[in-house]
Amino acid sequence: MKSIPAPVFLLCLLAVLISVPVVEAREPDSTLARRIAEHADTLMRGSSNSSTYRMTIVRPEWTRSITMDSWERGKKLSYMEVTDPPRDLGTAYLKRDGQMWTFLPNIERTVKIPPSMMMDSWMGSDLTNDDLLNESSLLDDYGHELVGADTLDGVAAWHVRLIPHEDAPVVWDRIEFWVRQGDFMLMRDEYFDEKGRKVRTMSYEEIKTMDGRRIPTRWVLEPHLKKEGNRTVLEILDVDFDVTIPDRYFTRQHLERSR
């Protein structure tokens, strides 16, 4: 009905003009945040790696450990095989083309993990199948924001916040993580759901040099929200970075090969 009064329009214009430098001023922060995230991402992975690790699942009623050999190339391809305990010996997982298959030796069948089971526990741990399949999307699906400098357990740290992009198919509302200042060593991740509740915490411990890299070798995942007393510990026993892995490792034939 009425046109916008001139003073209001001018104020708006002014606000826009002022905000532009602010956005630019924030740029370096988010670039730093992204660099931290990228560093964290490549540090643990390399362009490819082969590793042996032990996963210990702690429950109020029981504790059990599974040892696995793993081969990983880039973010999209990985192959894992259980070597211990004997009951699960030969159980294998293949991640490829954004899908996951598992080979169950006792029935000699390959099963594709259906979308309905993505949020189910992976091998009984506090990790979900989705965690395994979509770990790589931390860089692509989230915007990175530097919250600021912080101190964690007496160590100077950068506090970075990951907020998912509007249409990203992710399960978290946000992820907060801390890295050591200076070398960007991973210290802790905290995962929050859409209600703003902290769902789980991952702590990175026991930094050691493995294959020439300083990396945390003990990762402790603790779920919250009525799951106190549950814990999953991943220990890297051995890792080789930037190794050549034959293409055939990442095929279903390899998954199903006779053992």
Binding site: W62, N106, G124
Partner: protein, 411 residues
């Protein structure tokens, strides 16, 4: 005594009207009685169907399982359950143990979600009567580790028959994916939708093997000697098992949806009956109002001869009592007769599309009526109250008659 004589004669003066009124009472009341018996019977049947087809009267789980089921919430029957029942439990007819979980049933590239239940074949046969639910093939033999029974609709969806192999994939006790191959021994048609569409039954031993759950169970299914014994049985079992960390729940909590459906149906039944009762009430009101109005002069003469207003009202009440009383007697004979007949010879709805309905709602298309003291007393009480209400106005009208005015009145 003269009142009875007068009332008897007065009723006979309009034999058609009296006859029709009595007939309305007979019709209305007998249908209400039969209707109550039918509703009661169908509800009893829905409940018995569910209880006997799968859930049992009472289930026992580890505390917390019912509200938040998880395969990790288990108990050890041999140490936690069986010893506590020593000496016998009053009202307990039978029990057996199960492990139930969810997973995938697949054949080739086709997969469907399945409710996987490990049962004790010999024990459950005694009270769940699985063999009557076998559509094709046969029931599980004791000790059959490799066999499975598959819900008839699930089998159809998977395209498998007797002797075919089905792949079961689920998570074991420790949460690891596990798989098993089982051979289809039979298909199950139970009238319980979830079971027919997604049920995959294997033996308890087989489930324990597959899920790494040696010695464990997550459900005890308990049958009472009769449904009336359930509340006592629950508290008795709770006394014995509660301290050991087990939770005892009755079918009302196991199947709240069925309890709600039954309650809703009861409300509809009462509404329908209210309409019928209203019709009876107006018929009676009409008859007696007419008989009062056309006899104002007659009542006036009675009053002139020295009859008190109370006597006039008394006459009308006795007339009504004779008529309605006859109606009540006949109605009860007809109503009870029909209900008893249908409790032996059920109504079969299968010809009337009941087959489809029964598949959908999990009901037997044949419905037996059930006569209890409630289904008899309530309709009689309701009709009596309605008729009493209908009599108030005519009686009040007759009592108000002034003799002089009435006698001098011309038709």
């Amino acid at each position: 005594m003269i009142l009875f004589k007068l009332a008897w004669r007065n009723n006979w003066r309009h034999r058609w009207r009296s006859g029709l009124t009595a007939a309305a009472v007979v019709f209305g009341l007998s249908i209400t009685i039969w209707g109550f018996c039918f509703t009661e019977g169908s509800h009893e049947q829905i409940i018995r169907n569910s209880v006997e087809s799968f859930t049992g009267h009472v289930q026992v789980h580890r505390k917390g399982f019912h509200d938040d089921p998880s395969l990790r919430k288990v108990f050890y029957p041999d140490s936690q359950f069986v010893p506590e029942l020593e000496g016998g439990v009053p009202g307990l007819a039978n029990y057996s143990f199960r492990i139930s979980t969810f997973g995938l049933a697949s054949v080739g590239e086709t997969s469907f979600a399945a409710m996987i239940v490990g049962i004790q074949p010999e024990r459950e046969q005694e009270f769940i009567h699985w063999d009557r639910k076998i559509e094709q093939g046969r029931y599980l033999h004791p000790g059959d580790i490799n066999g499975a029974l598959v819900g008839a609709d699930l089998a159809e969806n998977l395209g498998i028959g007797i002797g075919d192999t089905v792949i079961i994939v689920t998570q074991d006790y420790y949460g690891s994916l596990c798989g098993a191959l089982r051979v289809v021994r039979g298909t199950v048609r139970s009238h319980a939708r979830e079971l027919d569409r997604g049920g995959l039954l294997i033996s308890l031993a087989s489930a324990r093997e597959m899920l790494s759950m040696q010695g464990m169970a997550n459900t005890a299914v308990v049958m009472a000697t009769g449904s009336e014994q359930v509340p006592q049985l629950i508290s008795e079992l709770d006394n014995r098992l509660g301290a050991g960390g087990l939770e005892v729940i009755g079918w009302r909590r196991i199947m709240p949806d069925i309890v709600q459906a039954v309650e809703l149906d009861n409300v509809f039944g009462i509404l329908t009956n209210l309409i019928l009762l209203l019709v009876i009430g107006f018929t009676v009101l009409n008859t007696f109002l007419m008989s009062v109005m056309e006899r104002i002069r007659e009542f006036g003469i009675m009053r002139s001869l020295g009859a008190s207003p109370g006597r006039v009202v008394g006459l009308i009440v006795v007339e009504a009592a004779l008529l309605v009383g006859l109606g009540f007697v006949l109605a009860n004979i007809v109503g009870i007769g029909a209900s008893v007949y249908n409790s032996v010879h059920p109504l079969d709805f299968s010809e009337m599309g009941g087959d489809e309905l029964s598949k959908f709602y999990g009901m037997d298309p044949r419905i037996y009526t059930r006569l209890t003291w409630q289904t008899l007393v309530y309709p009689n009480l309701f009709v009596a109250v309605v008729i009493l209400l209908a009599l108030i106005y005519p009686a009040w009208r007759a009592a108000r008659i002034s003799p002089a005015e009435a006698v001098s009145r011309r038709h």
